[in-house]
Amino acid sequence: MFPALLLVTLPLSAALLMLLWPRFARSLHVTVALLSVPLAGYFLQQILLHGEQQWLLGGWSPLLAIRWQADSLSALLLLLSALLHLLVSGYALAVQARDRLPAAFWPLSSLLLASLQALWLARDLFNWYVCLELLGMVAVALVTLSGDKALKPALNYLLFSLFASLCYLLGVALLYAGYGALDLPLLAGQLEANRLNAMALLLITLGLMLKAACWPLHIWLPAAHAAAPAAVSALLSALVVKGPLFILYLVWTELAPQAFWLPASYLFALAALGALLFGGIAALRTPYGKSLVAYSTVAQLGYATLALAFVLRFNLPEFVAALWLFVLAHALAKAASFLAMGELQQTLGSKQVSALKGASQTMPLAMFAFAVAGGSLIGLPPSGGFLAKWALLLGLWQSQQYFWLLVLAVATLLAAAYVFRVVVLAFDRAEPTAPDFAPQRLPQYLALLPALAVWAMALFSMPLLTLLKQEL
């Protein structure tokens, strides 16, 4: 109980203290980021040793209390969020003077961490609503940090996010009308396949798919993620869109009656098909560097949606493993590519992809980080992206879905095309640089770190797979 509680309350109380004493905001933020990682690591170890844990907050009866539950998946996601938060904090520290990052970044990103950690732990439909609202509003506030040009995409993001929350809330209210409970384990297996529940689940799914930017509900994402400062884009793409996906997975696998699984799997498969093809094509065509990375997020989320569709259709452990491996690999790779792309843009002074000409000579480290992360996005062995794709392929092969093998091949080619679009340009001959051209090295190394971590995932594939498969 104690480490889990600290993981949420530490960043939350720190964020409030930062608002009271803005002078100490940075040091408080770094302290909390540093403390969270060993705490999350210790918590994961405890869960692996003693198995799943759960608490009813405040000691109320399950009908009133908010239930927190931590299985190994939750603990893994807690650790991932803490790690990426620490990394992005380091990056923000390194670039804040140059990029004029507003001081509001520190409390906001602490709040983001607190709401994410609470989301991974909660098993209560209404508590998830509160977490989602908090996450959405903090994310929008973080997008506005890059100044006036970000206001329009931020407001659009906010409107979509609020509408999505209201859809989710309406669905939850309809479920409560039927069963009088909000607690996930209490509701699990209770739902009958009637019209009211179909309506409620449809609303909940619509809201969550909007927030998770599943195609065709992704339209807010590219503008918002591209307009944000690089550190924020990395957090948003790597972690924030995964929160609603986690809820979607739990709602469908634990709550929804089996009779609805097949139609839902078709819906998710269709969304995945659109994301993989159109997300990839959009990434190939956009003239701006950060939009390219943002569209790549839309495309990569397609893999996770596809895995979810097949979890519902065939219920093989391979698909569950593939879903969470994609989430882990994408989080690391996307953090690396956004930080690298932000660094390239900031130093070379242009948002256009064409400005990256010769970047392999002018900024070899950042370009290397982008290419290495891109390798995982494509799914080159032995990266984390390959591991996830391999699990997905195994499952597809076992369930004889040959059409989807073809789709995966096309999606992989598209990913290769948009990554190589940048890499090829970077290996062109560089224009002569100005005499005072001096890129900062530390932020580039920080961008490289998660890119290397995603390749190291292959070394830990066995423990990761056993950890994820035992969820079934």
Partner: protein, 94 residues
């Protein structure tokens, strides 16, 4: 019993009106207001649902009341945030 259905119908109507306003747009202020109307509809639905036990002579469902209170706090702060963003957007556009 009749009043229950009247309130339920009004709640559904509010959600519908808000949804229509959000769809039609296109001014951002109208969309923010439409979101509030949808929110009001949903809260009304929840309050009406909380009234159901009263018809059987039991006390009203206080869990739903608590949810509505939490939802109101969230809705007020979200609206304030959206309006502040809109205000900044409009002053910068001039």
């Amino acid at each position: 019993m009749l009043s229950f259905y009247l309130y339920l119908g009004t709640a559904v109507l509010l959600v519908g009106i808000g949804g229509l306003g959000l769809w039609r747009g296109p001014e951002l202020l109208r969309r923010i207001l439409a979101l509030n109307v949808i929110g009001a509809g949903i809260f009304m639905l929840m309050v009406t649902l909380a009234y159901r036990p009263v018809m059987q002579g039991e006390p009203a469902d206080s869990v739903l009341h608590a949810l509505v209170l939490t939802g109101l706090v969230v809705a007020v702060s979200a609206t304030a945030f959206a309006l502040a963003l809109l205000g900044r957007l409009l002053t910068r556009a001039d």
